[in-house]
Amino acid sequence: MSVLIFAEVENGKLKRSSQESIFYGAKVAGMMGTSATVIVAGQSDNSSLAEAGKYGASKVLHATDARLNEPNGMAYATVVAAAARQEGASVIVLAKSSLADAMTARLAGKLKAGLAANVIELPDLSNGFRVKSSIYTGKAFAYNDLKADTKILAIKKNTIAVEETDAAATVESFTPALNDGDFAVTVKNVVKATGDILLPEADLVVSAGRGLKGPENWGIVEDLAKALGAATACSKPVSDLDWRPHHEHVGQTGIKVSPNLYIAAGISGAIQHLAGVNSSKVIVVINKDPEAPFFKSADYGIVGDVFDVLPRLTKAAQAL
């Protein structure tokens, strides 16, 4: 019995979301009176991986097969399943991402695991194994009793406040048998925005809607985002009109975000948009229409012209 955390590395370093999942997993291990082990696949170095100790893990298994250097959900599921068997893991923790989602489902199938997605709190172990998750795109919560021998928890961003210590984890090389079938899908090309803060990982988000009137006006959104160190996002109509790329679309049929701060400029706040953002800690709404429904779901509101307000917020943020 132990807790296994699937962590992702980016440019060799543990991703922010993985730091949170390691911390969460170590807390669960503490509750169960066992230890937390991290499994990582792909290129990294021992000192970067030892940092998992800061978040409470005692050991890191590093799968170093060169075929794992490209992210691959199916192959990673094979690796994590092998690690779970070796460690006798009864609980597997990971942070939701496009890679982790692809991995998790295959893993659940392999291990016949009880799976909870979008977990938002530590489990309640007082009567079985109960976890709270976000459902109906953030419009409600469910309490899930996980009854299978192996449990998988896919946690949402900002589920737990991460604390660091000076501890270091031991790093062991891990060489499970891989399946050729896991490499049947070939990656031909990857198109990725560089240098920007990625929306699902961002603590602060500046989002804008049709109130911006056209893609040529996005500079004032990007300026505020830059001044705050935030990611940019947009509403569905903006993505449908091709003013902004689809991976910035936040809402019921787009990305669901749960940052510390969500600033919505020129977005009226349809229920489908709210669904994607309502687990944000603080919501700021800027709209010239005082009747915009979004104000009812906001913590701070400004009734005003976005073309006047956004540049002034940028200046104020730069002056901090």
Binding site: D101, A108, Y136, T137, V191, Q252, V303, L313
Partner: protein
């Protein structure tokens, strides 16, 4: 080519979710049920592929008899026949087990579904089905083209996309802009009435998860309004009061 499209029957996206029976059941009073929006994309692409390449399109739903209007609508949009597994969709593993059982019997080249259902948002069923059938699964798929036996796929990732190639058979979780949603026409609605809808009983009895109750999110506190001429105050409040920047 044989295509299976798995669809969910879910509350309309504008639904205000509430629960009954001491927060153990979704309140269905006044709720309109629709085809999962992501499933609708999968179905629309399946019908396009049928028109372009020639294919049979079967719709599959795991659900009670109250899901049949959604299934009939899928038939009206262009699916040829339908299967309903007569069971409440308990969790992702259970639903995947039903889909895999039917797929093993009928050998589909392509199994399409939405990237996730909009009720539980797990986004896991396609991957579990792929694992159960021993074939690749890919999600979320934004573009899908078939050229001979090569399948070209664009998948969304954080901050961008991946262009992939694979061979059939495949399981795919779909999202926009894979196809435009289709609206049934009158002829489609008429013919849908007589298209075959087979009802089968579920397999598998393992209970891996169980929902013990539901809860609504706490209401947000009152909004603090800031005058436009004092907009700069917001930045100060975010630092000193909310303490998030």
């Amino acid at each position: 080519m044989k295509i299976l499209v798995c669809v969910t029957s879910v509350p309309d996206t504008t639904t205000k979710i509430t629960f009954t029976d001491n927060n153990t059941k979704l309140s269905k009073a006044g709720v309109t049920f629709i085809t999962g929006p992501y499933d609708d994309y999968a179905l629309a692409r399946a019908v396009e592929l049928k028109e372009k390449l020639g294919a049979s399109v079967t719709v599959l739903n795991v659900g009670g008899v109250d899901a049949e209007p959604v299934i009939r609508k899928c038939l009206a949009i262009g699916a040829d026949d339908a299967i309903r597994v007569n069971a409440e969709p308990r969790d992702a593993f259970f639903v995947a087990e039903q889909i895999a059982a039917i797929a093993k019997e009928n050998k589909y080249d392509l199994i399409l579904m939405g990237r996730e259902s909009i009720d539980f948002n797990g986004g896991q069923v396609h991957g579990i089905v792929g694992e159960m059938l021993g074939i690749p699964s890919i999600s979320p798929v934004m573009l899908l083209d078939i050229d001979g036996d090569t399948v070209k796929i664009t998948r969304e990732i954080e901050g961008g996309k991946e262009e992939l190639e694979a061979k059939l058979p495949l399981v795919l979780g779909c999202q926009e802009p894979i196809a435009e949603w289709k609206i049934p026409n009158m002829r489609g609605i008429m013919t849908a009435r007589t298209k075959p809808l087979k009802v089968v009983e579920p397999t598998g009895t393992d209970v891996l998860t169980d929902v013990s109750g539901y809860e609504l999110p706490p209401a947000r506190g009152a909004v603090k309004m800031i005058k436009a001429e004092d907009a700069e105050t917001l930045i100060q409040l975010l630092r000193t009061e909310a303490k998030i920047i």
